[in-house]
């Protein structure tokens, strides 16, 4: 590891030319004091989000593992329980989320083009679709309550032999969709922030970067649903046992 064998600095982002900054201050108002350049800052923020999404993947991974193991152990009750989910509502929600991902992608794109109108329109669309998802989810949940499909003492299942497996399925169902819904709510909160900020921004690189970062989060939440939908609603549909 002598100095010469090592090539130039790796992809470390140390922005501007060194030493041009005698006071250690810069004039750029959008730049936090500890960054050398806006590019470095945006890159850092986005890397931060990707790393955060990695933690999110592992977070959902834990409950997905539980689901996988239990489904393997009791396939029949799980399939039976899964039949009690409302495919129409689930499908509708899937579509809502995919469309919202599209509008989110456009919001990011229009922000990059500094098209305020397009940006705001698409962002608002995204938020409406996201809210729509939650509203649908609300109806799905309340239906589960009225049908005594919520785990706990009130849980009822006609086929006693499968009651345990079914209750377990619904435990996992609520856990997984509940966590997903909480992520949606957080996402909507984040979008609200960039919506408000977007009304008077001049779209500096930092803001565009922030929009893109929030977009990453939103798409991630969509991806989670892309998996939850088949896992919870669809697997075992063709099987008519119990």
């Amino acid at each position: 590891m002598s100095a010469d064998t090592v090539g130039a600095v790796t992809h470390a982002g140390h922005g501007g030319p060194v030493g041009t900054d005698p006071d250690g201050h810069h004039d750029n108002p959008h730049l936090a004091h500890h960054f050398d350049s806006e590019e470095q800052q945006t890159e850092a923020t986005q890397l931060g989000m990707w790393v955060f999404l990695a933690t999110e993947i592992m977070f959902f991974g834990g409950v997905l593992t539980a689901y996988m193991i239990y489904r393997m152990k009791a396939p029949v009750p799980f399939a039976a329980a899964s039949h009690h989910l409302d495919l129409t509502l689930g499908g509708l929600n899937t579509i809502l989320l995919i469309v919202s991902s599209l509008t989110m992608a456009f919001a990011v794109r229009q922000a990059a083009l500094k098209d305020r109108r397009g940006y705001l329109l698409n962002l608002i669309m995204t938020m409406i679709l996201g809210t729509g998802f939650l509203v649908v989810k609300y109806f799905e949940y309340s239906e589960k309550f009225t049908h005594h499909l919520v785990p706990g003492p009130k849980f009822q299942w006609a086929n006693l032999g499968q009651a345990h497996g079914a209750e377990q399925f619904f435990s996992l169902y609520f856990m997984m969709t509940g966590l997903h819904a909480i992520h949606m709510v957080i996402g909507l909160g984040l979008l609200t922030v960039i919506l408000i900020q977007g009304r008077r921004t001049t779209f500096p690189a930092r803001f565009k970067g922030r929009v893109e970062t929030m977009g990453l989060y939103w798409h991630f939440v969509d991806i989670v649903w892309i998996f939850l939908f088949p896992l919870l609603y669809l697997i075992g549909r063709h099987y008519h046992g119990g």
Partner: protein, 333 residues
């Protein structure tokens, strides 16, 4: 008390065939550890003394490293590790695999006691009497949380996990009384969940057994089989809606929805407590759930009974089933 009365004990008593095996491994590990600890200590001490700073201006030349050395201290530990792994795995396999001719005993752990049930019908609490020189297999269950059945003098330990059976085995070599500990934390009186293993000469053991109640476990199971109305569905006749059970134990079972399972104790347990989790192919999932209706003890009796059912030509489980009844499990000791 079994363990030595010395004030400063350094080594536990060896009282099972496994103990010697584990101890050999222990000495090997100790030697390995001593070697490396002394090696590191020697390096540190020698270098520290030899190269201590002699003047504040010492400026020793730079040494980047040495590939050969790096390889040496990668490869040698690696090889030693593999040897150790192999040895450990071998012992583990021995510990996990009971011999064929075991004597079976059922154990139930609950907060905070151990209950033992001999096939001959005798029951005991916080004590377990076993004959010397006979491999013993324990099938363990718990009524509440996880416990762990631990006999230091035998060097064996097995967790007892709610919802299923686990097994362990040992063969005692010395008559005496040995500690039985619960090794998995299980709540307030975890440290009070202790007992004793009483190892006896076979003749004494028989005598001790004879002092117990009459009626072996399988016949208790038979009674339950009728009381719980299992007979309605599982005995040849007009009401039979479930499969025949004789000769089932140990055989593979085809499951509805694909897949198969071996009808071991855990399968039988699940089939009784929560039958529709895995349904036998060709049958409807109509068997009622018995979870909460049968105690662990009743379950032991039922399973012992099912395993002991005599196989007659008209109640064989599957065409493929071998005629011989499972040897070790059959009743009549």
């Amino acid at each position: 008390m079994s363990a030595s009365n010395k004030t400063l004990p350094l080594f536990p008593e060896q009282a099972s065939t496994n103990a010697a095996m584990v101890d050999e491994l222990y000495f090997f590990l100790l030697a390995l550890a001593a070697f490396f600890t002394l090696l590191v200590a020697a390096m540190v001490v020698v270098f520290a003394v030899k190269y201590r700073r002699r003047s504040p201006d010492d400026r020793p030349p730079r040494i980047h490293g040495n590939l050969q050395l790096e390889l040496v201290w990668t490869v040698i530990p690696l090889l030693l590790s593999l040897v150790t792994f192999y040895w450990g795995a071998k012992v583990y396999f021995e510990l996990s695999r009971p011999p064929d001719n075991t004597m079976d005993i059922w154990i139930v752990g609950k907060q905070w006691m151990w209950k033992a049930q001999h096939l001959e019908g005798v029951r005991e609490i916080n004590e377990l009497h076993v004959p010397v020189g006979r491999p013993i297999r324990l099938t363990l269950a718990t009524e509440d949380v996880i416990h762990s059945f631990y006999v230091p003098a035998f060097r064996v330990k097995m967790d007892v996990v709610p919802g299923r059976y686990t097994t362990m085995w040992f063969e005692a070599t010395k008559p005496g009384r040995y500690h039985l500990f619960c090794a998995e934390y299980c709540g307030t009186k975890h440290s009070g969940m202790r007992g004793e293993i009483v190892v006896m000469e076979p003749a004494d053991y028989q005598e001790w057994l004879a002092g117990g109640p009459k009626g072996d476990l399988a016949s208790q199971g038979e009674k339950l089989f009728t009381e719980l109305a299992c007979v309605t569905c599982h005995q040849a006749g007009p009401t039979q809606r479930g499969p025949a059970l004789a000769g089932l134990a140990g055989k593979p079972v085809q499951l509805a929805g694909g897949g198969s399972a071996v009808a071991d104790d855990n399968y039988l347990r699940e089939s009784i407590l929560n039958p529709t989790a895995r349904v036998k192919a060709g049958y409807d999932p109509i068997m009622p759930v018995f979870q909460g209706l049968v105690t662990e003890e009743a379950l032991q009796a039922l399973i012992t009974y099912i395993k002991a059912l005599p196989v007659t030509p008209d109640n064989v489980v599957a065409p493929a089933a071998a005629p011989a009844a499972p040897a070790a499990e059959s009743k009549g000791h």
